[in-house]
Amino acid sequence: MEPLERYRPIIDDFEAFLSACKRPLGTAVRVNTIKASPERAMATLEEAGLEYEQAAWHPTVLEVETDSPGGTWASYHGFTHGQEVVSSVPAVVLDPQPGERVWDSCGAPGGKATQIAALMDDRGTVVANDSNLGRLSALRFNAERLGVTSMVVTNQDARNYSLKPLAFEEFDRSLVDAPCSCEGTIRKNPDALEEWSLEHVDSVSGIQKGILRRAIQATREGGTVVYSTCTFAPEENEAVVDHALREEECRVVPFDLDLEYRSGVTGWEGEEFDPSLEETMRIYPHHNDTGGFFVAKLEVTA
């Protein structure tokens, strides 16, 4: 927990935050509406005697009383997909529409990319990319199990992504769910902080900036880019978005969800960020009993 001490100045009720970080995370699934309505998925869980609770902020997000969400009929049929509650947030914020061209730049293992396809009623083109070939097999397995037919899978470095293999030259929307120091997954992976170092935070933030910039460039004017991480470090969150605001044609747009969250910070360790970073979202473990998460929504302006 030591590395988290640095966030004491920006997190209210810090002791509650720390104790939430020490509690294991409950099990959650996302209903895959390509194969079943939330009602049918819930009926299938009920038949198996499983208790669940539907999230207030989205009908497809269910917290389930089970240790093996993958060992149910609902999972076998692809009605549900094991997905942490906060991990369902960025695709909802991205708000993709049927028929659109959407890029998931860091798409493996596919929870968010398949959610994007489901939000589009499996119509349009979801380009799921990942630089790691090994992780792509998990993505493909998940996409097929969930019945996704609108997905293209590519294997490139997102920082200099080429749209050449695709049928079009820009995306309507892009998701950058960036590789990060994963501090917010501490409840799921108790050793998440063991390898923590400021050097790693700084080096990964360079990669994040590169991917976010490429996503903005590859998205059409008026299109949407969502940037998310599962970490608390402002270096990997607000500072990355601030960098994009300075280097690319884009602006932060406000959004809301029916869950408890805090605004993004507008300064960190002597560095000032654009005031619009207040419109970004920080989700802390002690507020909704989830993992930690950061989400920013951008509009491409040229």
């Binding site: 079943a36 199990r145 293209v152 695709l166």
Partner: protein, 198 residues
């Protein structure tokens, strides 16, 4: 029209090529056409051809057919395009478990309903003796699950125009996967990675 090797290109295993509309449009040797794929699904499983109006079919690897809803140039070298749906270039064509789970609710023939205990054995990969007086060969195994009090499962999600299930003829059965029925025995074709002990 017969294929001759000097007229047609060879299939390139590493890239996706879109299926020609009809056998007459064929430019790649041995490649099936969209028409033949739709005929197969209709003849064998009574899946109406219009089920696939929003989809294109592609070949990558010899005889491996993929179904795709999005946009793409052809041919294209890419990791994946939609999902694998059918194995051709062999005597008996074989649909995939994932395809059958996605589109099998539209089928009106060669669907075998399994009671819960048999369904559990099927998804665990077991072969079993079952009663079936229809055709031998590949069948869609299905069972009833998640049926709401009103009787029928509701369509997908919130929006009015949801895709796969709405037009389903036998909407109350949920496909489990592909089975091979021979000599009074239903052999589970559920791939190892998809098998579950439920």
């Amino acid at each position: 029209m017969s294929d001759t090797k000097d007229e047609l290109e060879a299939n390139v295993g590493q890239r996706f090529g879109r299926l020609p509309e009809t056998p007459d449009d064929r430019t790649v040797e041995g490649r099936v056409s969209r028409e033949e794929v739709l005929e197969y699904f209709e003849d064998r499983f009574a899946i109406p051809p219009e089920t696939f109006d929003g989809h294109t079919f592609w070949e990558k690897g010899a005889g491996k057919i993929w179904i795709y809803a999005g946009e793409s140039p052809s041919p294209v070298e890419i990791e994946a395009l939609g999902m694998t749906c059918l194995r051709t270039r062999q005597e008996h064509w074989k649909p995939t478990t994932d395809f059958v789970q996605r589109f099998g609710a539209h089928a009106g023939a060669c669907v075998i309903e399994l009671p819960r205990a048999e369904a559990e054995r099927f998804v665990d990969g077991e072969d079993q003796r079952v009663e079936w007086d229809g055709d031998w060969g590949y069948l869609i195994a299905a069972h009833e699950i998640g049926v709401e009090p009103e009787g029928r499962p509701v369509g997908d999600g919130e929006s009015a125009e949801r895709s796969p299930r709405e037009a389903a003829v036998e909407g109350d059965l949920e496909p489990l996967g592909v089975g091979l029925y021979v000599h009074g025995e239903l052999r589970s074709m559920v791939p190892k990675g998809r098998q579950r002990g439920l």
